[in-house]
Structure formats: C-alpha cells, structure tokens
Symmetry: C5
Subunit: 354 residues, 5 copies
C-alpha cells in the first residue's frame, strides 16, 4: 500500500511521516539559546530537555533532524500550541514551499537541495523538506535527514559574526532561508558546469549518451523550478511584512532574499533555454551526420552503377558485336569508364554535393 493510499484512509491532521523511513534513524535535537551577549549550544535527546534550556530575554532555535519519531512533533504541537494541520504538513514531506500566517507563529516550508555526482555523470539532485515554525522568540526547524547547509549560520551564531545574534528569531529565519537559497546557486553552478561539458561533447562527438544527459538536465530543471518558484511567493509574503512577527528592520533582508530567489529563477530559466537549445543542436547534428554518411555512400553507389552497366553490356554473348573484336576496344572501354566516373565526380562537385 503506497503512502498516499494509506494516508487517504486517515483523518486530516493525523501525524504520519510520509518520507522514506530508515528505522535506525533517531531524531537529533540541537538547541541554540542566544542573545546579543551570549550563546549556548547543546544537543539533547528529547524536546523536554530542549525546552528546559529556554531562558527569558533570549531567542531559542530548536533544530529537529529526522521525522520518524512523531512523538516529538506532537509534543511541540502541545507546548507551542501549533495547529494540527501544521504538524501534519511537517510530516507529509511533499509540501510545496509556502509561508502561512497562523497569528502567533508563521509556518514556513522550504526545500533544501543536495547535489550528488558520481564521476562525470549528470548531477543528481535530492530534495529535503525544511519546515520552520517562527514565533516571537523561538524558531523551530524540522529536517528529514542529518546534514544541512546551515553550518555557516551556526558559526556566525557561535562567533557573533554579522548581526545574527543582535536581531532575533525573524532574522535567524532569514539567515537560514538565505543559506538554502545560496546553496541553490552552488547547485546551479554545478549544473552549469555539466551544461558546458555537454556542449563540448556536442561539438566533439554527439552521441546518444549526451542526449540522455540533456534530457536528465531538462528534467532536473523542471524539478528545481517546482522547488524554487513557490519559494519566491512565500518569501514575498514575508517581505510584505503583514505579520508582526517579521520586524520592520528585518524586512529589508527578506526583500534581499526575494531578489535572490528571482535571480535563482532567472538562472534556472536560462539553463532551461540552454538545455532546449542543446537538444536542438544535438538533433540537427545527428541528422546532419546521418545525412552526410548517406550522401557519400549513395554517391559511391551512383558512380559505380553506370560503370557496371557498361561492363554488363560487353559481357553479353551476342554473336555479332563488332566492338569485341577490335584490338583497342578493351582499353578504350576502360578509358570511357574512367571518363564517366570523373565526369560524374565533377558534376557532383559542381553541384556542391560532395
């Protein structure tokens, strides 16, 4: 029974994780408690431990890695008074990026991409849902698997680089989303390299393998587009700042983030255009190559067919063929044959066929 078929049986708001489950995975909860003056970082086993770290006048960032242990999610729902549908969306990990305003908190979904390349093959991009609950002085993030692109943000928190420690939970949310979007650029750069590699291959030796790489790239662009396009809208929602949770001084940063998502879309679109162009080039190169092969072969056949006919004529067994008895007949015939073939070659050359 597929996860959708199973899910269809359940009431809305049921907490079932729909992603791939590796039973040995245990959720890892890492907590940052910070304000401008201090920062405290700890990995804890359960949510209760995490909440114990919360202090007045500080911002808390709880990052939950791994969604199989749905008890944690339910606890968060109870403690932070989160709507059941939000919890469901966190666990049903095929959400589109979005930003929903629930009054006391914002629910933000983004997709974190990871690129894996074995050798010179087409890069494969795997996508992971990152859900954020942004409250007044807390930010809770949910990831499906360990490994993320947030390490630079953590370092900035640890070493008080930039403004991250001064600015509160909304800025932290911005910093994390910005890290995700910056990572898109890295991935697009990798795809850009692949695109250049394909283009070189097209010039040198257009093979069917290249076509499969172009198609793979096109499919990649389609799926990237679906991850990034709705994010643009979500960030726009935040930038417009209708929620009091996004403070005014943070809005400029979200506007900047919005700009970046548009830039990403621009690159995606132009890579798509390039992929489309390469497909055209490939097809016309293949067809040109095929055509030139066929042309040369046909020309060879065409030259020899009249010659074979002449030879056939003098191979006839008629009694009365005066040419056969002429002493110079054979060399003259050979000369005629040579002349015919040279004449045809000249004709073909003049017609620019060869």
């Amino acid at each position: 029974m597929s996860s959708y078929a199973r899910k269809a049986q359940l009431p809305p708001g049921s907490l079932v994780y729909t992603g791939e489950t590796h039973t040995e995975e245990k959720a890892i909860i890492s907590v940052f408690v910070y304000n401008e003056a201090s920062v405290f970082e700890q990995d804890v086993p359960t949510l209760v431990d995490a909440l114990a770290l919360r202090k007045k006048g500080t911002t808390i960032w709880i990052n939950i890695n791994g969604l199989t242990d749905t008890a944690n999610i339910a606890d968060i729902g109870v403690h932070f008074n989160i709507h059941a549908l939000v919890l469901e969306d966190i666990l049903h990990v095929a959400q589109r990026p979005k930003c929903e305003d629930y009054g006391e908190y914002l629910f933000i979904v983004a997709r974190m991409l990871d690129v894996t390349t074995a050798g010179s093959a087409t890069p494969e991009v795997s996508s992971e849902q990152v859900s954020c609950i942004l409250g007044k002085d807390y930010l809770i993030t949910f990831q499906e698997h360990p490994g993320d692109v947030f390490e630079p943000v953590r370092n900035r928190l640890r070493h008080a680089k930039g403004q991250v420690r001064r600015m509160g939970a909304d800025y932290l949310a911005y910093a994390l989303l910005d890290a995700i979007v910056d990572n898109y650029f890295v991935i697009l750069e990798r795809i850009g390299e692949e695109s250049e590699a394909i283009e070189e291959g097209l010039v040198e030796n257009p093979s069917e393998a290249l076509m499969h790489r172009i198609h793979a790239m096109k499919r990649l662009m389609i799926s990237l587009r679906r991850s990034i396009w709705p994010l643009r809208e979500a960030v726009n929602t935040m930038e417009r700042g209708e929620s009091a949770l996004i403070r005014k001084r943070s809005r400029l940063y979200f506007r900047d983030l919005y700009d970046h998502t548009i830039q990403v879309m621009d690159v995606v679109e132009s890579l798509r255009d390039i992929a489309g162009g390469m497909l055209d080039t490939y097809l016309s190169a293949m067809s040109n190559r095929m055509n030139s092969v066929m042309k040369v072969l046909t020309i060879i056949a065409t030259i020899f067919i009249p010659l074979t006919f002449i030879a056939g004529v003098y191979g006839m067994n008629f009694e009365h063929m005066p040419e056969l008895h002429h002493p110079w007949a054979y060399p003259i015939t050979l000369l005629v044959m040579f002349g015919v073939s040279v004449g045809m070659l000249i004709f073909f050359r003049r017609k620019r066929w060869i």
Copy 2:
C-alpha cells in the same frame, strides 16, 4: 438524438439526467444524523424517510446515489428551497467543478475519479460528478453511481475519530472534498507507475505500442487537468470564507485543502512534462534505430557495388584482354577485391560511420 440535442429543446431548469442511464439502477439514499455525542446511520428508500430522521441540534448528511429518479431531486428542491438551476446542474453531470453561493446554501460540484486497469495496460480513469448542497446544519451529496471514496469519512463519523463529529456540516463537506482530493493522489501515483513502466520500455525496446501508451497518458493528463484546475478555484472561494456557512474555525482546513489541490496540479503538470519528454525520447529513439539500420545496410551495399563492378569488367567478352590469359590474374583480382573491401571498411571506421 444526442443528450445535448435533446437538452437544447428544453427550458432552463428542466430536470433531465444527462449521464448514462442504467434502467435497473435505483437511487440509494443513505443518511447520517450526528452530533458530538451521538451518530445514527440508516439507508432509506425515499427522501421523505430521510427527512424524518432530521433532529434538532444535529447535523444531517444525506447522500443520494444514482440520479435517474429525478423525483427525489425535485423533492429536495422543494424541501430545502433550492434554486431550479442548481437542481438542473446536479442532473446535467458534465459540470465543471465550482462553488456557488446561494445565500442560504452553497452549491459545490467536484469530480470523483476512479481508475480501472486491465492487466498492464494504460490506466483508464472514469470520472463521476459529485454535487454537494451545504446548508447550515445539513449536507446533501449526489453521486451518479454506487461506489465512492467516502468510506474513511464514514468510519470517522461512526467511531468519532478526529474532529468530524464536533465540527458541523462545513467540516463534513471539507472532509468529503479532502477524500476526493486524496484519491487524486492515489490515481496520480498509479499513473506515475505507468509512466515509469513506459520509461523502462523506452530504454529496452521502443515499440509503437509504447507511443500509444504515451499518447493515452497525455490525454489522461489533459482530462485530469480539466477536473482539477477548476476545483482549485472552487476551494479558494470557500477558503476566502465570504460565506457565513463556512465557519471561521473550518477555514484553515479549506486552506489546507487548497494547498493539496495545488500539489495535485503540480504533480499533474510534471507528469505532463514527463510524458512530453518521453514522446521526444521515443521519436528520437525510433529515428536513431531506423538510421542505424539504414546505415549498416547502405554500407554493405556500398562495399559490394565496386566489387561487382570489377567482376563485371572481367566478365566482358573482348577478344583482346591480356589480363585474362595471365595465370595469376584470377587470384590477384580476388586479392584486389578483398583489398578494396578492407580499405573501404577502414575508411568507414575512421570516419566513425561504423
């Protein structure tokens, strides 16, 4: 006379069922009367029996299965004061999904899909109109044929799972629409499997049958799109909550439903893109295969034509052909022929033609 030609003769508001009619089908009316404390379920033969079950402080859900008995529909029109055009739309079962606000009730149309697959063939999707009339404390649903996707909702009603018993008629409408949309995911998953099967077939052995399956899939996506796209708008209408019939606490659920319809559209769009890509792959695979066949055959012909010419030359009957009398002439000629063919093969190989 087609159903449209017949319908065109009738005044607007005429109650004529335009779907396929199986005379033996008798409408089945099933009734749920429930509130948070209790639930009562019964199948009744006529609408009057159904209405007799209605009680104060409860919500009643009347589900009518089969539209051939238009008397029931007319009764509902009278009892619940439903506009004639609504009754007409219920019976003219080619409506687009929509949500119309008639003040005292909402009229909602959705399409319930059912997938049937015989063996490994392309899934065929049949579509059935589900019309709902949502009032303050009643919900009336109309289906064309027995068999639906509402069983999980009924179970939740029966066993008071989730919030369905607490939340009234609007939530019930949401739950039913959600069941319909969840079912779309199940169907899309089935189509996704078909798409993977086709893709495998394309790699192994691209045949004309596959092209027909791709075309069938494309046509399926077109018809799915037409069922789902307007539903998005209809749900959006409900979510915006301009009608007092959708209570505020239910709106979040409709927003969630709206999200799901967008996700469905996303999947449909990307399956369409994939189908388009597969068609391209098929066509270029076919053309590549054809080309490589033709190339090999042409190369064979090209190699033998000059050899046949040489044989033809020494088959001529000239009296004075000194070569004919040389004792080594025959083996030398054979060697020359062999050399010519090997030379051509090397030439072709170097040109990467073979």
Copy 3:
C-alpha cells in the same frame, strides 16, 4: 472594391450591410407581444406594423430576419433612440460578441453557428451575427438569414412553459443566448464525432485525406474559439449586473449561462488538444510506415547484392579459374549463396531489424 475598402470611404455610423447579399431576400419581421397572462404572435412586413402591436404591461420581442433592408434598421434607431454606432455594428456583421451598456438599453452581439455536413466530410460551420437590443420592456433581435435556433424558446412563449412568460425582456434575452450556447454543444458533439471518425481512420489507414480533415478540424476550432471566447466576457458583463436592465432575479440565470460558455470553451480547448495529438499521431504513423517500407526494401536489396557479386565473380572470363572445372562447383556455389542469404536473414532478425 471589397466591402472593407468601400466601408473605409464612409463616415462612421453609415448604415451599409457588409454581409453577403442575396437580392431576393426580404426582411421578415416577426413579433411576440406577451405577458404572464397572454401571448400574441404575428409576422409583419414593416417595423411600423410591429410597433403598432406594442401594448402597455407587455414585453415585446421584435425579431428581424435579414439585414439588406436598412430602412428598418434606421427606423428602429429613430423610434427607440438607438445610437448610430449601434446601428452600424448591427449591419457590419463581422463584430465580435460583446455587450455594451448604453444606459437605456444594452447592445448584445453573439454569433449563431450552423453546422452543415455533406456525407462523411468534415463538418463545415457557418456563422451568423445575432444582435440584440435589450430595453426595459422590449427586445429587438437582428439576424442575417432566415433559420435560427430560437424555435424552442418560441414554443415556450407560446405554451407558457417554464418561466419565460413571467420574467420579462432580460430573461428572454437570456433564453435566446442560452439557446445559442446550447446549440454550440450540439455542434461540438458533431465535431467530436468527426474527431472519433478521424481517430478510427488513423488506426486503420492513415491517409493524406485524414490529415486534411485534421487540419480542417483545427481551423474550425480556431474559428469557434474566436466566436465563443468573447461571448464569455460579454455574458460576464451581464452577470455582474451593473446595468439595471438585468433584474436581480435574472442574474442567477446569466451566471448559469456564463458557466455554460466556460464549459463550451473547455470542450473546444480539449478538442483542440485532441486534434493536435491526432496530427502528431498521423505524422509519426506516416513516418513509421514509410520507414518500415524502406527498411524491408533495403533489406531485400542488401541480401541480393552480395549474391550478385558471387555470380559476377564466376562470370569472369579468366583462363585460369580452377573452380570452374570442378564438377561440384556449381551446386556448391548455389549452396554458398543460399547460406549467405540465410545467414544475413538470421543476422537481421537477431538485430531485430526484421
């Protein structure tokens, strides 16, 4: 001088009929005067006669069939105080469907389609402009040629079926437009049958004639689209009910009509998609068929070319060809030839070329 070149010379508001003129056609003016209690119907020769029938407390519907007699149109302009541009639009019969509000009256243009089919050929659709002037208690309709789709409405008027006698001029306008739109469905059904016939033909025997039928169907869809798409907007204008001429109780009917036009558009769009798909199928079927012919022929040639070469070798006239004298040489050669051809067939089969 074409009608446009001629028209370009005239001041705006000139009354010149731009459609095809059949001199023998005389305008037929048919009048219905009705209220809920009574109905009176008469064909009259001139507008003056028609106006004489108008009575207080009744609604009058004047239907003018044939636009060559522009005097009638001018009379109407004077009597009902209609703007010169409206009269011009009535006569310049290439208007797009539209609805214009002139305060005291609405000017509505729609296109009535008629399908004509000779034998099993592509249906040809001819289009006729229907202009309506809708006032408080009168409706004037203008048609280019006799023959229309309004007979069911007339019958309803005559026999007081439905609400048409109770509801006034705006409802009558709705009923007529509804008849026009219902007729679109009938035509689309006819085109749908043609589409199925083509599809069957494509499977059985894809011929060039089919391609022309597909192209004809595509062109038909384009022209239908242009008739129907602007009608949608016009009906929407009426539905929004900004004009006091559309009474509130009639608006629901116009909303229903609006729904129908969208449904028509849906069917048109999906027929267009289907036509596009059939064209693809046709082209790839033709190319497949051509390819398989060429392949078989090339294979035949390829098998015989080496055999002919062998025959050519033993047709050479060298003196010293020891094989020629061997008593078994001939049958062995034949056997070798047979073996070569069988070997090639097996090779081709194994490569799946045949």
Copy 4:
C-alpha cells in the same frame, strides 16, 4: 554612423529626424479651419501662415507632411507650448503607438500602413509614423511622407457629411484614427487574398517559392502585430476618458474604435494561425512527396535486383551447369523472372506499398 549611434551622442530632446531623408522633400502644411457653419481649407508654406488662419469659435487642423524641416516642429513647440520630449518623439519615427496625457494636450502616435504589391508577389507593407497633438480646439498631425488615408475625412469636412463638423477636435482625432484602422482592414484583406493564393498553390504544386511566401507572410504578421497591439492600449487610454480633452459625447466613438482595433488583432491572430498551419501543410506535403518518390524508385530497384541476380547466376562460366544445355532453359528462366517480378508487385500491392 547609424542614426542610433548618432542619436546616442545627443542630449534628450534634440530635434533630429531619424527616418529616411529625401533632400528634395519639402514639408507641405495643409490647414483646415472649420466649425459647424463653415469650412476653410488652404495649403501654406510655413507654420506662421497656418497660425494666421486660426479663428475664434473654430477648430483648426494643421497637417504637416514631411519631417525634414525641423524648424516647423520647433515653431510648433514654441507656439503651442509643447514639451521637448514630444517634439523629439515626433521626429524619432520608430515610436510605438501610444497616447500620452500632457494636461493641456494629448500626444498620440499611430502607424499608418501602406501595402505595395508588384505582380502576384507577397504584399509588402511599409509603415509610416503619424503623430497627433490634440488640444482643446486644435489638432496637429505629422506625417513622414506625402500620401495618406485621410482623404475620406477631408471630404466629410468639405461637404459636412456625418458629424465631423459639429463635434470638435477630439472627434476629428477619432475620425483620423478610425481611417487608419479601417485601412488596416483593407491591408489585412489583401493579405487574406495572398493567404488564399498560397493555400491554392499548396494544393496544386508545393514549391520552395511558396515556403518563402509563407515565411514572408509570417514576418508581415509579426510586424503588423507590433504596430497594432500598442494602438489598442492607446485607444483604450482615450476611451477611458480620463482626459478632459476627450469630451464625453466622443467617448462612445473611441469605444467603437477600440472594438475595431480588437477586431483587427483578431484577424491578425487568425491569419498568423493560418500561416502557421500552411507551413505545417507545406512541410508535410514536401515530405510526403519526397517519400512517395523514394518509395517508387526503391521499389523499382528492389524488383530488378533479384532478377539481375538470376541473370548473373546463369552468366557464370562453370563447366558443369546442366541447365545451360537444356533447350527450354532460357524461356523457362525468363518466365521465372517474370513470375518473380509479378509476385513481388502483388506482394507490395497487398502491403499497400504501391
């Protein structure tokens, strides 16, 4: 140095004419001074003479034909207090159609098209910028070259036909724009004829020349579209009547004009669709024709290749070929050859290859 490169060096508002200059061309200034009672018409050499004709209670229309004499333009700028950017736009004749409101006057740009056809060739359309400055009681129009489509309007002014003398400068502007748009219909009719001519040619004898005509037509539609599409917006601006310069009673006329521009666009779009369809038809006709040629030729070759093989077999010089000595061998062989060829023809026919 191109006109753009030269222009790029100049400050904004510089008065340099960027169109093609014919030195011998001298600007022709023609003036109409009229009110309902009287009309006075004169061609004058300079603007000063034109202004001398202006009288109270009249409307003046100054039409300037030829833009090389920029002194006139500068004079107008001074006298009517026109912004420098407007004057620049009048002279930089590659403007898109537009309507700009400068408070005291409207600046309107349209493009007047002229179609020239040499013999049966593709119509060539040349485009000329017409700029209008519409004030309270004056209208100044600027044309690049002599020759325009305004003669019918002049005649109406002269002979007081229609409303043109009663209605003031805004109606005159409408009448001129209407003349331009009416002329579009004439041109589109000419292109429509070309399209029908091409279509006939496609059925009779699809040649490469036809393809060039189709491409020329497509390019024409693209450039027409660019002239007409922005005009639609400009007219819409005027129709909405935000400027007091367009009196209320004239607005209906501009609405009508707006309708006409939409109709023009409709025709352009459908001609584009038709051109696209013809291109498809051409390509598939060419490919069908090529294919049928190749098929017949290949069939001929295929029939003779086995026969030649048989002849080759009995041309072998083996000593022991018993058939050679049989008295009926030769006729039997000929019969067999005949049988083989007839058999193959029947086989091909049955496969529907010929």
Copy 5:
C-alpha cells in the same frame, strides 16, 4: 572554490567583489560638482578627496570605476549612511536591474552592455553592472571596469548643453540611464546587421557554420532579454514617482525612458522571432537540399538498374538463346536499352520528380 560556494559561507552584507578581478586594476574616482552656473571636474584617488569637493548649492556626481578596492565602498556606506545590503549588491555584480527605495536614497542597478566583434564573427556582448545611489543632491555610480557610455553626458555637463546642469541629481540619473538604453539600440543595430548577414548567407549557401551563428544570436537575445526586461520595471518604479527624490518635472523624462526600454524590448522580441524563423529556414533548406541530392542519385540508380538487368540476361550462357545469333540483335538491344531509359526519364519528368 567558486565565487558562489565562497559567498555561501559569508554572512549577509559581507563586502566581497564577485566579478573577475584583475589585481593591477586600481579604482578610479572621477568627480563632477556642478550647478547651473558652474561645473568643476576632477579625478581623485580616494573617496575623502572626492567628498572634500562637495559644496552647498551644487550637485555632486561621484563615479567609481573598479570595485576591487572595497574600502571605498565601505567608506561610502559610512559617509552617506547606506544600508549594508546595498553595498553587498554593488559588489555582487550579478544583480538583476532594479530600483529600490531606501527613503533617503534610491538604489538603482542597470547593466551596461558592450559589443565586441572580431572580423565577421557573431558579435559577442559583454555586460557590466552599473549601480547608482541617488540622493537629494548627490549621485554615486559604480562601474566594474573602465570604459563607459557616459561620455556624451559628461560633455553636456562640461558645455552646459541641454538641461542637465539645471535639473539636479535625478535628471543626471535619468541622463545616464538614457545613455545606457541608447547604447542598447546601437548594439541591437549591430545584431540586426549580423541577422541580415546570416539571412543572405542562408540564401546563398546554408552551411552548418550559419546554424551556429543563428544559435549564438538566439542565445544573445536570451541574455539581452534578461538584462533589459527587469530594467523596464525598475524605470517604471521611478516613473510612477512614489519617491520624493524623483522631482515632478523629471518624471516626464523617466516616462520617456520607459518608452525607450519598451522599444528596446520590442526590437529584441522581433529579432528573436527573426532568429527563430531563420533556424526554420535553415533546417528546411538543409533538408530540401539533402532530399534533392538523394532524389537525383536515386533516379540515376533507378534508370541503370533495369538496363543492367537486360545486359545480364544476354550475358547468360544458355546454349539455346536464339536472339544471340541474330545479326541485328546487339544494336536492337542497345536501342531497347536507350528506349527504356528515355521512357523512364519522360515518366519521371511527367511525375515532376526531376
């Protein structure tokens, strides 16, 4: 490590230049201080020197050429109180054109294009980011490399041509943007020439090199579009004049600029259409050429194959072939062969195959 990968590690607002760095480049700061009465121009080494030149009642334009020396940028941030994100955007030179309102100043990004052509090759367009900070009485512009299109503006400043000295910083910003947009026209003219050269080449000798030039041109149009399209929106923002920094009297100029950007887009779009059309022409020319070659060659082969067969028949060694002994047999056979070939040629000609 690519610049994106490196940037992804940094906090937002970090000042790192992401363009190509040439270490020997030193930023050049050129300053104009002017009012209507006077102008003072100087190149200075550091920003401090530049600021020392600022005087009351004057407008200062600081142009910074070269972004490697980020200290200057940081100084500007401090002195003019510019937001860190703006400084970051100035240095991250892959920004899309945009206009952001920061209250006290506007931040405008545009892209300056430069076209380089080696010989007759496809023009290559390099793009450089120009960032402007527009304050009440100052304008600071940032360029990546020396060399710009602003010389005409500088000359106007120096010689008080046009209004530039009278109108303040906002007009100067307009003048610079106008110079950039005017330059687009110059570049498009260059591309237009290339397009005409390709078209001529297509008629004379369609080669694969041409196809690469068409593809290069298409790719160029894509990248131009991405530079110009967002500029349109940015200029629109300024034209709407929501910022007090754009004075009312300057708005007309920005509207004019907006018009120019739309014109540029129009040209770009139509060049794209033309490029697309040329690609179609190329492909169909190639295919036509290939087809006509193949046709002629196949016809030659087809004519000789039956003749060779006839020769083969009379080359058979049957004892009893009466024709062989007839004295006229040989010439008659030759005549028959001649007749067959002429007959086939006539047949082919009549079928319009040759």
